[in-house]
């Protein structure tokens, strides 16, 4: 089943130099394990392939039901150097939420996930 990240998480992003950080927060506690399992570092790296120049790091925050991603080389040099509209990575958050996860039917049913049509 296809599950839109937009339907199961919210997010905020910001910058640290040329790196954008995206915090992805599960909308319900039961959905956090789905994020941990499916929103992998590789999945996110593939999502942003061609849009960022560096790699991706992922950190788990079970206490907040959140994952923190660092997208390196995401800001055309960052801060004052950048020519981008989003020089400070403020809306990488919603670019992340465009991601669609493939979750098994059983898993989706067990976690009560909203299914994308």
């Amino acid at each position: 089943m296809r599950v839109r990240l937009l339907d199961i998480a919210h997010a905020r992003s910001g910058d640290k130099g040329d790196t954008a950080n995206v915090g992805v927060i599960a909308l319900k506690p039961a959905w956090y394990p789905v994020l941990v399992k499916h929103l992998t570092r590789d999945r996110v790296a593939a999502h942003f392939d061609g849009l960022i120049e560096g790699g991706v790091d992922r950190y788990e925050l079970p206490n907040l039901g959140a994952l923190n991603f660092l997208l390196h080389g995401a800001l055309d040099g960052g801060g004052t150097l950048s020519l981008k509209t989003d020089a400070q990575g403020k809306v990488y958050s919603t670019a992340m939420l465009r991601l669609v996860l493939d979750v098994s039917d059983d898993e989706a049913r067990a976690a009560g996930l909203p299914i994308a049509t």
């Binding site: 915090g23 927060i25 925050l61 055309d76 040099g77 004052t80 020519l83 509209t85 919603t94 465009r98």
Partner: protein, 453 residues
């Protein structure tokens, strides 16, 4: 009932809502008002201002903010902590005192001035004594850009602010204090936390992180349930109610707009987060994976369980240096085929630059309304857009080349593709780039001072 200390956040950056400081002291009881004015780039702007006029170099907005809260400070004992001093805290303090005198309250303020963060006059001394100030991202030594450095400030911690409060200050003005120390210091002062009370210091730092961006934790810029966040026009800025044990509640004044909830606070917690297990500050290394949040009633979130580890023996240094020039220009193309026309304009402009033999270190085109912020992830929706902004920028060490680029945009209105507008701003401005060089320095070389005005 356990004693709590209320620290209000009234400014998240230089340029934040002018009304917020006054609203924070008038909207209900607060003990401290914390005002954060400094971003990475701010110090270099202030340094340039000070070079033009030795009496400048601080966040001028702060004087107006102080005027707006002066009655609360004078009559109700609210204390103010701000990093508004920039590269000239003494001049900032003098301007605030002059304002108070002019307002007929010459004795209302006891201003504590924190200095020692400015390393600009000491750079050569540091480099000569083996402090290389290596770039934390690239590993290069500062000598590579030494002749272009225009500002250098160590991020300093809570200790000098605590000292100023202990010496009776009711206004503390710092230079490059960390944003988080502005909140942690008054809690540490009030509750007598020691320099090795790592968990409590970490809690104070995380309280600071939550409120340092103003309303961004109380409903502003909040994606979660954004349509239903009440009355943003009247948004309440955040308040931390700290307790001696390091636990605290995040809230806002009753009757204000916005929202304080677990989702609004969580969004702010993850903002600009790096490795959550080690949030390094001059005072303590805080662990964001220890944070526990609990709903404590309407617009109240209780935060507890926070742990911290001993501080490192380094301070981060923010160094600003000149790094060439840039300019960004734009035109707007309208339906039908808005995106196609904008793409055509981009090709035409680039061909003209090529014909002049102009190449740049970087040239970047974006189509706002189609793909500027989400790139290919935005899909084809932009193909049918009612209008698309063609936005193009260049960056180069050679100012003349950047200047020439700025002349090539507006002509497209008459000699490029059709249905174009949005050029009222005329030629874009050439901007000198001040880049940021993050480095570390041994704590032992930075001595902070506190002076009472």
């Amino acid at each position: 009932m356990t004693r709590t200390v209320r620290v209000a956040g009234g400014q998240g950056f230089w340029g934040d809502w002018l009304d917020a400081p006054r609203r924070q002291v008038d909207g209900g009881p607060v003990d401290y008002l914390m005002l954060d004015y400094l971003a990475e780039v701010t110090m270099s702007i202030l340094q340039k201002q000070k070079e033009r006029d030795p009496a400048m170099g601080y966040a001028r907005d702060f004087v107006g903010a102080m005027e707006s809260v002066l009655p609360a400070v004078a009559e109700r004992g609210v204390k103010i902590i701000a990093n508004a001093g920039g590269v000239n805290p003494a001049a900032c303090a003098a301007a605030v005192q002059a304002m108070a005198t002019a307002a007929g309250r010459p004795a209302a303020l006891r201003i504590g001035i924190v200095t020692g963060d400015n390393l600009l006059p000491r750079i050569d001394e540091l480099l000569d004594t083996g402090h290389w100030l290596l770039n934390m991202d690239t590993g290069e030594p500062l000598s590579v850009v030494r002749d272009r450095v225009i500002a250098a400030n160590a991020y300093i911690g809570s200790a000098p602010i605590v000292e100023a409060l202990a010496r009776g200050a009711n206004v503390v003005i710092t230079g490059r204090s960390t944003d988080t120390a502005l909140t942690m210091a008054p809690l540490r002062h009030e509750f007598g936390w020691g320099a090795t009370d790592w968990n409590k210091l970490a809690a104070g730092i995380i309280a600071g992180h939550i409120i340092e961006c103003g309303a961004q934790c109380s409903g502003g810029n909040c994606l979660h349930d954004w349509r239903n966040i009440p009355h943003l026009a009247d948004v309440g800025y955040p308040i931390v109610e700290g307790s001696a044990d390091g636990t605290f509640v995040v809230t806002k004044h009753p009757g204000t707009g916005g929202r304080v909830s677990i989702p609004t606070v969580t969004e702010q917690l993850v903002y600009e987060m790096g490795d959550p297990h080690s949030y390094i500050t001059p005072d303590v290394v805080a662990d964001f994976s220890s944070i526990r949040l609990e709903d404590a009633g309407p617009d109240r979130v209780r935060v507890y369980g926070i742990t911290g580890a001993p501080a490192t023996d380094k301070l981060k240094v923010s160094i600003a240096y000149k790094s060439g020039y840039k300019a960004v220009g734009s035109l707007v193309y309208a339906w039908p085929d808005a995106l196609e026309k904008a793409e055509c304009a981009d090709r035409v402009l680039r061909e003209r630059l090529d014909r002049m033999g102009l190449t740049y270190e970087k040239i970047l085109t974006e189509f706002v309304g189609a793909s500027a912020t989400h790139g290919r992830l935005a899909g084809d929706a932009g193909r049918n857009a009612p209008e698309v902004q063609f936005r193009i920028g260049v960056r180069d060490a050679d100012r003349k080349k950047v200047e020439r680029f700025t002349r090539e945009i507006v002509p497209l209105v008459l000699n490029g593709p059709p249905s174009v507008t949005g050029f009222a701003g005329g030629r874009p401005k050439v901007e000198e780039i001040v880049a940021y060089w993050p480095a570390l320095v041994d704590k032992s070389v930075v001595q902070t001072q506190v002076e009472m005005l």
